[in-house]
Amino acid sequence: MSPVSTTSSRAIYEALKTSGVRLMSALPETWLVHLIRMAEEDPEMTLVRLAKEEEGVGISAGAHLAGVKSAMLMQNHGFLASVNGIVSCAQLYHIPLLMLISYRGDFGERDPWQTEGGGVTEDVLRALRIPFSLIDRPDQVASRINHAQTLALSANKPVALLLCRDLMWEEGQR
């Protein structure tokens, strides 16, 4: 059994569907495996697997201009790799992005290679003036995703939700 929470993944997926998301871009990462499988198995969802996360900015921008709601699934290091696209495509052109970012490298992280990116994630989001919120409990999922999507669309700007360890990783596991 994977220690990645199926309950939380299901809640996130349902909230995305309720918010009208019909296209998702993703680059696989451990915490996101269930979400990606759910998208893959859902005939109503177009899933685009990326080579690098920044492509997702262009894909979501194109989908938005064409009238389709989308979400981006990535690890925080993928967010860091996407910064120019976020600034020079989404922010420059006032395009909403709903970014769901797995927050690796924060308290509880055992993989040394995740820790540096974890330490800068929130500061980079603030520097880019991207509104963001942390989600660490399943009962927060539905309203935060709904509210994030609402703000992204009304403000025409990227927003981020940081998916935290307590939400995505079942207790007692590594």
Partner: protein, 186 residues
Amino acid sequence: MKRLDALRAVYGRLEDRIVVTIMGAVAAELQSLGHRPNFFYLQHAMGLASSMGLGIALSKPDRQVIVLDGDGSILMNLGGLTTLARYRPRNLVHVIFDNESLLSVGGFPTATATGTDLAGIAAAAGVPRTATVSTLEAFTTAVDEALAAADLTTIVAKVEAVGPAAYVTDLSLLENRFQFSRSLRS
């Protein structure tokens, strides 16, 4: 072949299709031939025009999308060619104007000047139809064949490293963005 002449040769094919261009010379030259609400010029974010084209093509499967890319831009997003090929939108034609240089920032040579073959890379990435052309006739034929084939095609058009006198036009970025979006949604 000059890029402006190539654009002029296929302008009639662009008129009623969704067009996404990169920044700089391509954007300015296409606007000089006549802007239309269904043309979007991605004036920054180098590399992402092809990804935007993919997002639009997947969202508008009943419309044909033409991306006007450049060698410098696609070299920044070669991985994106593998994503394009993987989802193979049959309504997308990907034109890469290859002038073997970063013209707008001093004309320094790109890797295509020393042998990098973008059509070869696209084919190896899995793009089902690719071509490299260097004359107006061959370019026009390649575009027509791609539109008729109704399958993902990458056309590398070898062009001279010359561009317009100015890159900034009187079309503001946001005006273009909202007009384009309205045109796609109508």
